[in-house]
Amino acid sequence: MSTATHVHEEHHEGPASGLTRWLFTTNHKDIGTLYLLFSLLMFFIGGTMALVIRAELFEPGLQIVEPYFFNQMTTMHALIMIFGAVMPAFVGLANWLLPMMIGAPDMALPRMNNWSFWILPFAFTLLLSTLFMQGGGPAGGWTMYPPLVLQMGAAFPFVIFSVHLMGMSSIMGAINVIATILNMRAPGMNLLKMPLFVWTWLITAFLLIAVMPVLAGAVTMLLTDKFFGTSFFNAAGGGDPVMFQHIFWFFGHPEVYIMILPAFGVVSQIIPTFARKPLFGYSSMVYATASIAFLSFIVWAHHMFTVGMPLGGELFFMYATMLIAVPTGVKVFNWVSTMWKGSMTFETPMLFAIAFVILFTIGGFSGLMLAMTPADFQYQDTYFVVAHFHYVLVPGAVFSIMAAVYYWLPKWTGHMYDEKLGKIHFWLSVIGVNLLFFPMHFLGLAGMPRRIPDYALQFTGFNEIATYGAFLFGFSQLLFVYIVFKTIRGGQKATSQVWEGAEGLEWTLSSPPPYHSFETAPVVK
């Protein structure tokens, strides 16, 4: 090897310095960090909106915001949390972990990786700026049902464009994940040897590619209905407002699983580590994930049982939806069997993972109840639904992201986080989240519709409890930020193994790992 090439290689080894490192980076770790920090910022912006909502709902009457602004808050809260917080957080985890888990130096398409991240700040600046436009931001719900969404003011085309941008970013991220996993695995790592996090992300990426274009199509039809005289969803012009709901939920239901499958992957990595015992049924976990992904395409209309479908349609979607309980049950049973007769310790990642299993299962139970069409006629559009999807998204997806951060943070930074603070953060979060969302089941059953800024007197008690829980949960997350940044700046040095029971290629790398993960591919036996 000549000296010249040697110098050239050295130049590539470390990150560039200054701001341009982040702007022009094609490194999977840098981009992963950007994604994670971006999603943390969005989590706090969306969370602030949630606190505005909870503050207004603290007692009956209008005290803090006008109804129209309240509707903007509920709509924006959902869009920001789904597209800005949860999805980018999982893409960030994928960026950091996939190459390290499969023994690759980086992602397959690094320049596209840079682009798919840097679209996001623009998309969300655009989306947030609509709050200051004439007529305010979107207020018709994140589901954007016409005809209501068409009443939006100047913000309308900007919202549509920002949704397009988010979709582009997601599709590029997904292409990158698939290309990386299918092409860059270390020798010997066949598909059924991949860690479950890799498997769940591979399946998630296919879901993303399948449904993000559907969303793009749906919002484009809204755009042409508003500005170019088409009548896709306008009954007066021969269109069909319900068709939008079908198209939207054909995207929307797989979207729900896009937000939970990687969470399954995270938990399936963490539980075996702290139980010091291999995952009970690896291949059945893979098949269960694939089955859930398949079923996600044939259950969409359970989000719209009350639109007046024919009996046959209602029955089909009820049965298909109930079926999801089977593979989901397989997953839960597998996690429990993995814990069974293990040798467990309860560090912060394990605590979050266990809370995930329990609270996600509670969300699954209410999901099963919602699947029963006749009962759904009562539950639909009430706080029962709000309780359900927050149980699967907050102590579900969000807890798994936190578990992942605590689990891999020592690997990423080379420092151990403060275990005591981590546990305090866990307990504050788990108490806060249950105070916040559990009473919502009762509110929904007792008849409180969702998306209302004011309510009848009998709903006061539980709303007060929920608001206390919201503020407890929200402010506890400041502690999370403190812990993360404290760990980045310093702390006890982490070994490369980090956790006694951890298995997988990422733990063979130093902590922190080299800038280009595996320059020479490891051999997996």
């Binding site: 009457g61 209008l62 109804p67 129209y68 007529g135 305010g136 207020a139 719900g141 049902y145 005809p147 003011g153 100047a154 508003k226 306008n234 007066a236 407002p241 319900v242 010091r276 291999p278 059945s284 009350t306 639109v307 007046g308 009996l311 209602e314 049965y319 109930m322 079926l323 309980a325 089977v326 049950g329 397989v330 049973f333 814990m339 007769k341 040798s343 467990m344 310790t345 309860f346 266990i354 329990i358 509670i362 139970f365 029963m372 006749p374 009962a375 006629f377 009562q378 639909q380 559009d381 307990w427 788990v430 009762f442 059953l445 007792a446 008849g447 519709p449 209302i452 309510y455 007197l457």
Partner: protein
Amino acid sequence: MLVNFLARLRGVAIIGGLLFWSMCACADYKLNMPVGVTDTSRDVYDLHMLTFWVCVWIGVVVFGVMFYSMYHHRKSKGAVAAQFHESTTVEIIWTIVPMLILIGMAIPATRTLIAMEDTSKPDLTIKVTGYQWKWGYEYLGEGVQFFSSLSTPREQITDDSVKKDEHYLLEVDNPLVVPINKKIRILTTAADVIHSWWVPDLGWKKDAIPGFVNDSWTLIKEPGIYRGQCAELCGKDHGFMPIVVEAKTQEDYDKWLASKKAKATQVAAADAVDREWTKDELMAKGKEVYGTICTACHQANGEGMPGTFPPLVAGKEFSAAETMLTPLREDGFLSDDNKIIMGSVENHAKIVLHGVPGSAMQAYAEQLSDAEIAAVITYERNSWGNNTGDVVQPSTIKAAR
């Protein structure tokens, strides 16, 4: 330990809560779905409780195993990890057993659903129309129709020092009156955006969708007053369009229907007469119509809301998206520097009768009579500092239709 304790606490809370609920079903602190007053609502309630208990028992077993394991199989207690994994038999068992449980739940669900969808042979049909933000009820074949909107005074909503009614936000000016023990078919549709008609005690909700007519049915067994709300986000005042159903005995219902019919013919007769109305008459009637129909958007003081609902006061500035300003300018209600001006009576009538497509302004031609539209236009042109002096006669509106 703490996890264990907290989860047990929650279990106790759920069961305790349900017991508490069953002991005082009439208390304000409701925890569970109402049993309701129809066979359907009872079936739905039973299905809900069946699924609930299935979930509780699965939860008890799964979480029980988990907590046992977390307590006993911990490293601090010296547990050594077993290394077993993969068992096809176990996997098959925990696939088949849930399938069987699901089938057990699907059977009653299917039966209930089939009964709910059978809207044949009704004794009475009522058409329910959702508007932003009120409900319209029409008794088909009886010639009776009316609007039903929130009757809670505005001060109770915005001013915390004013005491709230017992049925705050769940009270209306004109309730839907129905007879008991009659199969009532309810058709739902909407005039503007999607709404959803929901009275929990009847056991279902159904979306009201513009351009579609959905049908459902109910048969109420006990006289009483049953309250509900719009359940589909429909804009600014979605939280303020309640539903009140008053179920009466056949005899009382007949009386009510007769008086409603008599009143309708009276009003129609008075409005239909081709006579000159005085300005005072028009202003008084206009104020009433404005209060029930227009205030939700244009506000009681006529100043609207920036960006969404234009003011009706001449000289007020209105800034909004171009798509919203253009039709106003074309009709002569907006100056080039975006100030409201009073356009012609002709265009004013056109907007009220036919609405502004693509905006929240509905067409009121079907909803309001000539006299009502004439009155409200007269009122708008002579209030809040508007002093056109115009007196719009019902005959003018009749001609403009």
